[in-house]
């Protein structure tokens, strides 16, 4: 990296000098730079090649029907770039309201592949030059782009919660009463199902059928299009994979999602700030606790609140327990997909129950904890909870880990299926924006806990576990190694847990967050989980975007499955480790 460039301010100044007519600082409460639309590709190339911003983390769009916070009426396309260390460089590109078109960054950063499709789907911003700009979370033919501010859902009632009509006479009014069909349905005026036929390619078969027709005359095997999912026991939920096969080899594989698209972001804009915390739990439901952290982190950045040391330590303890839980369950799922059906899983679920007992003890709920608050945590850890946490971190979980390794690590059958399967080269991993164990197994030592330390992670000794070959087996080894490091962190944190308050300031249900933007990210068990929030100074988020690691990591799935056998797809998918709640949001 260029040594003369250090902090974000320096980079902004440097870019302004380099591109005087294309780059200017973003207006006041915003960070980063504002780039002219037609120069975006040039600036992004310079950032990647000269300044080492090799990692495009998040692409999203904010809709401004009226000027706000110094931003004119536009569609503001927001990019977050990262170097190997330090905070984000935010790029704003203002797209025209009438005909929003922005050049696509996919040729430079394939990590934008799915994210730009999502932005097109939900916001209706076109990305010029995108190889495959189709809807991703909704379906072709859906009426409108729902995240636009002027798009109202069927049950629309008011712009912001709490809705005044919820208890007009002390009795709740069912939302269905607001729709003429008594259901969450609405059709365009004049539309009738009688003369309507479903779109020919609503399920996306056309490109695969086309490929299947171009059979290789030298290859004896027929080409077959195979649909896996959304109801399939090995897709970990409702993921759909569309595969073109030549014999048993994969010619093209395409993940298709949206079967669990629960409109998090639209609902999040209606909620009050605090009301979003329980929703974040439901993103990655395998490890609910750690989903709350980047959201509270982003809001705390805007509020300027620093949680007290005890709260920071408790957050670290909970985050590391969830990491252990997630990796254990992930290895269990790998076992399922290998054919050791439910046996490996039962070992993981046994430990999961103990960790969930701890979560229930501190937060009152097993799965959906709703434990973090802005400036601290909701409840203190009792003596009993600390004793259970110590018993787990010092005694039980290390034993479990040794047992797991004795069954898996040198297992001939496991190695025969896992070594050399689904190899992800490091350059491709970085280009596709992969994070978490998937990236580190390819040999890239990138971990947000080190790259941009948050909470008390600077206080602990731990190693970043890195693989060498980037195959399924290395991803397994990285997960096991990370579980050992999690235990190391847990042991240090429990030994040094400071006394003191658990909240900065007092608890408040309605708070107003100063106007501005903020990007909070943590190293979630599956990778970098980021929350991009924009506040207009009110009691609700103006924009609330989730950069989900599972979603971005899936972008590379088609590449690494190419040429493999169909039987390897499920184990490659298990090694990427996704949760559909987070993929679809």
């Amino acid at each position: 990296m260029n040594e003369s460039i250090g902090s974000t301010t320096d980079i902004v100044t440097h870019l302004q000098e380099r591109f005087p007519d294309a780059v200017q600082p973003a207006p006041a409460p915003y960070q980063g730079i504002l780039v002219a639309q037609d120069r975006l590709v040039e600036v992004a190339t310079y950032l990647r090649d000269e300044l080492d911003f090799a990692y495009l983390s998040s692409v999203t769009v904010v809709d401004y029907p009226q000027p706000l916070n110094g931003m004119p009426a536009c569609y503001d396309v927001v990019y977050h770039f990262f170097q190997g260390r330090g905070g984000p460089l935010t790029l704003h590109v203002q797209a025209d309201r009438e005909n929003p078109v922005v050049p696509s960054l996919v040729p430079l950063f394939p990590s934008a592949l799915f994210q730009e499709r999502e932005a097109w789907d939900l916001m209706g911003v076109r990305f010029d030059g995108h190889p495959d700009l189709r809807r991703i979370l909704l379906w072709e033919g859906f009426d409108g782009h729902p995240l636009r501010k002027d798009w109202k859902e069927v049950y629309y009632e008011e712009e912001h919660k709490p809705f005044g009509s919820r208890f007009p006479d002390g009795r709740p009014v069912p939302a269905e009463s607001r729709s003429p069909f008594g259901d969450n349905l609405r059709y365009p005026p004049g539309w009738s199902p009688r003369d309507w036929r479903p779109l020919v390619d609503v399920w996306g078969y056309a490109p695969h059928d086309e490929l299947a027709r171009q059979e290789d005359p030298n290859h004896p095997a027929d080409r077959v299009v195979l649909n896996m999912g959304p109801h399939h026991p090995s897709t970990h939920g409702v993921l759909r994979l569309l595969v073109t096969l030549e014999g048993e080899r994969i010619v093209k594989l395409e993940p298709m999602m949206g079967f669990l698209h629960r409109c998090h972001e639209k609902i999040g804009e209606r909620n009050v700030w605090l009301g979003n915390i329980p929703y974040t739990d439901r993103l990655d439901y395998v490890c609910a606790m750690s989903n709350e952290l980047p959201y509270v982190l982003a809001v705390e950045k805007l509020l300027g609140v620093e949680p007290p040391p005890r709260a920071q330590y408790i957050r670290v303890i909970m985050a590391e327990f969830t990491r252990f839980l997630n990796h254990a369950v992930s290895i269990g799922f790998t076992g399922n997909d290998l054919g050791i059906y439910f046996t490996a899983m039962l070992y993981a679920l046994e430990e999961r129950e103990h960790i969930l007992d701890l979560f229930e003890m501190v937060s009152g709920s097993r799965l959906m904890c709703n434990y973090m608050r802005f400036g601290g945590v909701a409840h203190d850890m009792s003596e009993e909870a600390i004793a259970l946490a110590r018993a787990l971190a010092f005694e039980r979980l290390p034993r479990y880990l040794d047992q797991l390794e004795s069954y898996f690590t040198d297992n001939e059958l496991f190695k025969a299926r896992a070594v050399g399967v689904g190899v992800l080269p490091p350059e491709m991993a970085v280009a596709y924006g992969c994070t978490g164990p998937l990236l580190r197994a390819s040999g890239v030592p990138y971990d947000v806990r080190r790259a941009e330390p948050y909470f008390a992670y600077d206080d602990f000794n731990f190693d970043i576990v890195v693989g060498q070959n980037g195959d399924v087996y290395d991803r397994y080894l990285v997960r096991v190694g990370e579980m050992r490091q999690s235990l190391r962190i847990l042991q240090q944190a429990l030994n040094r847990l400071p006394d003191g308050p658990i909240m900065a300031g007092r608890k408040s249900a309605t708070l107003k967050v100063p106007a501005g933007e903020s990007y909070g990210r943590i190293e979630a068990p599956k990778g970098e989980l980021g929350f991009y929030i924009v506040s207009d100074g009110g009691p609700n988020p103006y924009r609330y975007h989730i950069r989900a690691p599972s979603f971005v990591n899936l972008g590379v799935m088609g590449e690494i499955c190419w040429g493999h056998l169909i039987a390897d797809v499920v184990i490659i998918l298990a090694s990427i480790d996704i949760t559909l709640g987070e993929v679809d949001r």
């Binding site: 979370l137 909704l138 033919g141 859906f142 009426d143 729902p146 859902e153 069927v154 049950y155 629309y156 009632e157 939302a175 003429p180 069909f181 259901d183 969450n184 349905l185 609405r186 059709y187 365009p188 005026p189 004049g190 539309w191 009738s192 199902p193 009688r194 309507w196 479903p198 609503v202 959304p230 109801h231 399939h232 026991p233 970990h236 939920g237 409702v238 949206g258 079967f259 669990l260 698209h261 629960r262 409109c263 639209k266 609902i267 209606r270 329980p278 929703y279 439901r282 439901y285 395998v286 899983m345 679920l349 046994e350 999961r352 129950e353 969930l356 097993r366 799965l367 559909l580 709640g581």
Partner: protein, 210 residues
């Protein structure tokens, strides 16, 4: 065993202890309820809690149901475990249609009951009971494993009260109609609403022209 008291024939003394006499309903329902096979089917968060329920700690083998079938053709209990979205609904309805009778539907969690916390979402179905006949609702977000087990026991109790004589799928000449599978159009297209949609459009369109 049976909730009803009936006059049973007397067992000859030499066969006492060897032969037992019971109404066919009782033995049939008992066998059925102790071999419920749920479909292995995960939608959202509740699915993970369901997997937890089916593990060692809560041990549903006690109720004769540790096997989950991935194929709907082998299953007789559908646990709707999570938010049903509009994009997923055609698949859910198709899976239900593929299950052989007698079949039961257990709805787990607030989302599947009514849409729950995601009710106002534009892609969320406001309760699966608008499309499928539901036997048992288990509220919660997500319900605890104990809650799910209670729901399963409630289905058992419901099965016990059924009789071979009046069950739909054993009657002559009654072929159960499949539920029309919705399609994805400008919004979810529910074919049962066709006439209502057309009537509504006639009301709406003139007022918009004005």
């Amino acid at each position: 065993m049976s909730p009803r008291k009936r006059q049973l024939p007397e067992i000859p003394p030499e066969l006492v202890g060897t032969v037992h006499i019971t109404p066919i309903d009782a033995i049939y329902n008992w066998a059925r309820k102790r071999s419920l096979w749920p479909i292995f089917f995960g939608l959202a968060c509740c699915a993970f809690e369901m997997i937890g329920t089916f593990a060692a700690r809560f041990d549903p083998s006690r109720f004769g149901m540790e096997i989950m079938r991935a194929s709907p053709r082998q299953a007789d209990l559908m646990i709707i475990n999570g938010t049903v979205t509009k994009k997923m609904l055609p698949q859910v309805v198709r899976l239900y249609n593929q299950m052989p009778e007698p079949k039961y539907v257990l709805v787990m969690g607030a989302c599947a009951i009514s849409g729950g916390p995601f009710q106002e979402g534009y892609n969320v179905v406001s309760g699966i009971d608008k499309y499928l006949p539901v036997d048992v609702y288990v509220p919660g977000c997500p319900p605890r494993p104990e809650g799910l087990i209670h729901g399963i026991l409630t289905i058992h109790a419901k099965m016990e009260r059924e009789s071979l004589r009046n069950l739909r799928w054993y009657k002559k000449g009654e072929v159960p109609e499949p539920i029309p599978v919705p399609e994805l159009g400008p919004d979810l297209v529910d074919w049962r609403l066709t006439e209502k949609i057309e009537a509504m459009q006639e009301e709406v369109v003139p007022s918009q022209v004005e």
